[in-house]
């Protein structure tokens, strides 16, 4: 990859035995890895604008490209090296994590570990080849309240993670022993691939892929194939990307919550704190139903909607229904999603929602409120009363004609929404009042103070 390898691999300040209360740098290989993404830009620059200048002197394009890549790599690495020199982390006297960084403008961040939200150890592809990982620490709070230590050795990453967890429990409650995680569910590669291919979106995308490629080849001849791969190949890339991301998905139980491990090229380890789960959704796309597969999504407090894009709302990408229910039981103890007392929307709701009306229903138990929606992709969405923030009744003009109304249970932002669509008008207001009472009482019970 490169012709200079640092001689001091052991790294004077950052050995795994160094005390964590002294400022220390991340792994010395870091700048070499951070420089790598700059290579493609410099190659393009070298054979593009710069190449036309140099090319007049008769240098072949390949040589220009390689020289550009080398030059770019050295420059990017040099910059990364300077910032690496100036970045240190340590635990301060109050037991909080501090990260100092910045070359010209110094900044010092302090993460209050008593408000710890999550610690993830992630191994992206290149760093993993070098035996390095990054540690992502997130605390509850508004704005940018996360820090990424990039990159540290596997042993150091594990040590920092354990130290952070220890400090956070020290600050909030009794010290807990970390026991080996208890395996709950896993997703075999075959099922993951089959599931991704069988999603309606994927089927449409793949069909359009074939269509695009065929059209281009027919109109432009075989030359168009190159172009067609770019346009039609995109859907395949999306499937492959998701396959890589969720490959080897496992769910395990540990003291801090559910431990999720997944990823082929870049491995992620996430911990879902059970007491921060606000709502759960079981999603069953059309083509999964014959096999009785579902996906499990979560709304977690303080993560917000942008987390959905990063795939952080997934608890299980694909699992047989009974396995999914077992995992859901971990985050919603005592709730049996198969035994909810569903109340269906009246038949006249077909005039308002002709496609999904047959599946529309809601359920209220002592613990949770739930809603069922969708025809093509079916969703069961559940939230404990203690997590319901407010209750709304709404009635549009069509619903008024049909003597219907909808009742919404407002939840923290996330992928799950619990809405009893188009229920009988006479039932709507009593349901809303009842749910508001349940929500309030559930809160009082959870927090007797």
């Amino acid at each position: 990859m490169s012709d200079f390898v640092p001689s001091d691999d052991s790294g004077a300040p950052a050995g795994p035995t160094a005390p964590l209360d002294r400022p220390q740098r991340t792994a010395p290989l870091t700048p070499l890895l951070q420089g790598a993404p700059a290579i493609p830009f410099f190659v393009i620059f070298a054979i593009g604008p710069a190449g036309s200048l140099v090319g007049d002197r008769g240098l072949p394009v390949v040589v220009v490209g390689v020289l550009g890549a080398l030059l770019g790599y050295v420059i990017a690495t040099a910059f990364a090296w300077i910032t690496w020199l100036k970045r240190t982390y340590y635990f301060d006297a109050e037991g909080d994590l501090r990260v100092d960084s910045g070359v010209l403008q110094r900044s010092s961040r302090r993460l209050q570990l008593s408000r710890l939200q999550s610690v993830d150890v992630v191994a992206p592809f290149l760093p993993r080849l070098a035996g390095l990982v990054e540690v992502r620490v997130e605390v509850a709070g508004a704005g940018d309240s996360r820090v990424v230590l990039r990159y540290v050795t596997v042993a150091e990453g594990d040590r920092v993670r354990r130290e952070i967890l220890a400090k956070s429990t020290e600050a909030t409650g009794p010290q807990q022993e970390e026991s080996p995680p208890n395996f709950l569910a896993g997703v075999p590669s075959g099922r993951l691939l089959a599931g991704l291919l069988l999603r309606s979106v994927t089927v449409v995308l793949l069909a359009s892929s074939v269509f695009f490629i065929a059209i281009t080849v027919l109109t432009q001849g075989p030359v168009g194939l190159v172009f067609a791969v770019a346009t039609g190949g995109l859907p395949i890339l999306i499937v492959v990307g998701e396959f890589f991301r969720y490959h080897g998905f496992t769910v395990a139980r540990s003291v801090e919550g559910l431990r999720l491990t997944f990823g082929l090229l870049s491995t992620q380890r996430r911990t879902v704190p059970a007491d921060r789960v606000h709502a759960v959704a079981l999603v069953a796309p059309l083509l999964w139903r014959r096999r009785d597969w579902v996906r499990v999504q979560l709304t977690i407090a303080g993560l917000g909607t942008e987390s959905a894009k990063a795939g952080r709302d997934v608890l299980l990408p694909i699992a047989p229904r009974d396995e999914a229910l077992r995992v859901v039981a971990e985050v919603l103890p005592g709730v049996d999603l198969d035994a909810l007392p569903w109340v269906s929307a009246p038949a006249r709701s077909r005039w308002r929602s002709p496609i999904q009306w047959r599946f529309l229903a809601y359920a209220v138990t002592g613990q949770v409120v739930a809603a069922r929606t969708g025809r093509i992709t079916r969703r069961i969405q559940v939230a404990p009363h203690a997590r319901v923030q407010s209750v709304r009744v709404s009635q549009g003009p069509w619903e008024r004609r049909l003597d219907l109304a909808s009742v919404h249970a407002d939840l923290a932002p996330g992928p799950v929404e619990v809405i009893a669509h188009h229920i009988d008008l006479a039932a709507a207001r009593p349901l809303a009042d009842h749910e508001a009472d349940l929500a309030r009482d559930a809160r009082v019970r959870d927090h007797p103070t």
């Binding site: 923030q389 709304r392 009744v393 003009p397 207001r429 009042d433 508001a436 809160r443």
Partner: protein, 167 residues
Amino acid sequence: MRGYDVEAAFAAPQGSWTPVSPRLATARRSLLLIAIVPLAIGGVVLGFVGLATVWIVLYAVVALAVLVWAWWIIGRRVGSFGYAERADDLLVVSGILVRRLVIVPYGRMQLVDLRAGPIDRSLGITTVQLHTAAATTDATIPGLLPDEAAALRDRLAARGEERSAGL
């Protein structure tokens, strides 16, 4: 077919809804008048361009009809707002075409906002908005008198404090 009254579904818990000030209608109607200025200018320009009188009259009639209709709708919309304080939660109703009712338990309130724009301030009205951890909670009461708004906020804050239990 109509076995249950729509009004019953959106009825006040006891007694009647506390209405908002009719000044809210004045505020919204002034905005309407400001918005109508370009429309009037357009009419004058049409006159200068020398369009047939029929068209100008038609334009004026349509513009006037829209104005009258909007004037009336604003009145009804403002009349549709109401709130009620129960022992444990606040209820807010609004809307004519799409009717809404929201119930917010005091313990779930995270903050209470008071807002007043320039027109609102000159007329002496204020908007009170409740926020919970859910972004979809739509509990906004516009058009309260400043004293009423401040008193409501203080009452809500006090009750929220009493019943709050974190997130």
